[in-house]
Amino acid sequence: MSRLELLSPEGLRVDGRRANELRRIACKQSVLSDADGSAYYEQGNTKVLATVYGPCEPRNKGQALHDRCIVHVEFTVAPFSTSERRQRSRSDKRLLEIASGIRQAFEAVIISTTYPRSEISIYLHLLQDDGGNLQACINATTLALIDAGIPMTDYICACSAGYIDETPMLDLNHLEEASFETPDLTIAVLPRSGKATLLQMESRLPADRLEETLHLATEGCRQIHKLLDAAVQENTGELILKYANAI
């Protein structure tokens, strides 16, 4: 049985993209009216819904900090998100790890000293899984936090990249990610300063290839930043229009 060809001789990937191309990204803020902030984010066939509540009174009083707010992240995967229906428990280590990675990344940018003794809760729902869950979750969270009016020093944009057939590849889909020999990494950067708040890699990548793969992922983050910024500006414009017409 031959190995699935992830990169054709013409330089095209299984879904027809070139190595340095992102999947189609669609996003929308303020999708839920009851939450303080919400966002829906699609990257290819990976679909995420992010909801932000807060800043509000912490549910667990003992955790409250006297000088800043705490950030609480919960990540759930819908049973219908994968091709095989599967119910995942809330205490799934994999999900907890992703949630804690996202929490740490965002604690670095949220200006938390504005809200002492408060809590910001972020709920992430993966509705469809086609690879790149972490990056989609981070980008969706950025949009939802901005929608909630929570002060942040910058956006956080995340992107994944892998290394297939001696070529660095941007934004892996599920098929590419799942293949055994694909090393892949996810990086989250603050696009304006270029600083990284999260870097995750769980497989082996030749050390001399790390830099170019990282560089490609960072370039992807910059592209994503432009798209997110456009979405935020559109939403802000819409809200201004609504309030300007309010009597």
Partner: protein, 283 residues
């Protein structure tokens, strides 16, 4: 109508917006206001919203944010917790507001000293889950709100229903207590919580001071009930269509809603129709 609405916006073309991380000024001469931070001597936006400048002060106002209190605001809230000599009250803010036992109107005379027995009887005044209307009195060092109910206008709420709307749609005004022509009282909390209840004349409240901490609803007639429900749905309909909520708007919306059944008011087409009619009457 539509052309008119856009004209309002194009007149205000000087509105400038910012997104997080966007530098707003190029020199250190400016002062940093809400929604901004300073990096390398530059004022940088921290939220997505409208940039406002007053002399040297630069602020960015997020369009959707939680309620931030000001002293003197009338707020409607729900008791969430009892603590030492105080209640915690949810007022849609970033922290629960605090109502001290010393900041309420105790039954049996204003000048009465607070005794230990009052502390033990705190649940008989306000219990968890009770709705109250209060005024913001002060702020604590960490920014938490302190509220008081030392007036017969304020206190426990009953005989009605609560509606939650975005706080930005309620503007501060001279009075937040209104009696509508349909015989319904409305309390417009600046925090976006609105209380709609059966009308009780002030004389009746003053004549029965022992009733101010009662949790028992009075008998409410069928017409009162439907009027309360209609006003509640009118307010929700207006808020979905981004109309500021004040007494006149509610009265106009109520009149416009009369041809429709109460439950239909929440459908988007009817809500829009009511909002358009209310807006045209307001202009």
């Amino acid at each position: 109508m539509q052309d008119n609405e856009y004209a309002v916006v194009t007149d205000k073309k000087e509105i400038s917006t910012a997104t997080p991380g966007e530098p707003l000024t190029s020199s250190a001469k400016f002062m940093r206001g809400h929604g901004t931070y300073i990096e390398n001597d530059k004022v940088v936006s921290a939220v997505a919203g409208v940039v406002e400048q007053i002399n040297k002060l630069v602020t960015v106002r997020a369009l959707k944010a939680r309620y931030t209190g000001e002293i003197g605001d009338v707020v409607v809230g729900r008791i969430t917790e009892l603590a030492q000599k105080r209640w915690k009250v949810d007022v849609n803010s970033r922290q629960d507001a605090i109502l001290m036992l010393s900041a309420i109107h105790l039954p049996g005379g204003v000048q009465r000293r607070k005794s230990e027995s009052d502390e033990l009887r705190m649940t008989t005044f306000f219990a968890e889950g009770d709705l109250i209307v209060a005024e913001i009195q002060a702020f604590f060092a960490d920014g938490a709100i302190s509220i008081h109910t030392r007036n017969l206008k304020y206190g426990k709420l009953r005989n009605g229903t609560l509606v939650k709307i975005p706080p930005a749609l309620v503007q501060r005004s001279r009075s937040h207590f209104h009696t509508l022509p349909c015989g319904v009282d409305v309390i417009l909390g600046v925090n976006g919580y609105i209380w709609i209840c059966k009308h009780t004349p002030l004389e009746v409240v003053e004549a029965n001071p022992e009733n101010i901490y009662s949790s028992q609803n009075d008998a409410i007639s069928e017409t009162d009930r439907s009027n309360i429900a209609r006003v509640a749905n009118c307010i929700l309909a207006l808020s979905h269509q981004f109309v500021h909520i004040h007494e006149t708007a509610i009265v106009y919306a109520f009149e416009a809603s009369l041809p429709f059944a109460i439950k239909d008011l929440l459908s988007e087409s009817v809500a829009n129709e009511i909002a358009v009619e209310t807006k045209s009457k307001l202009q």
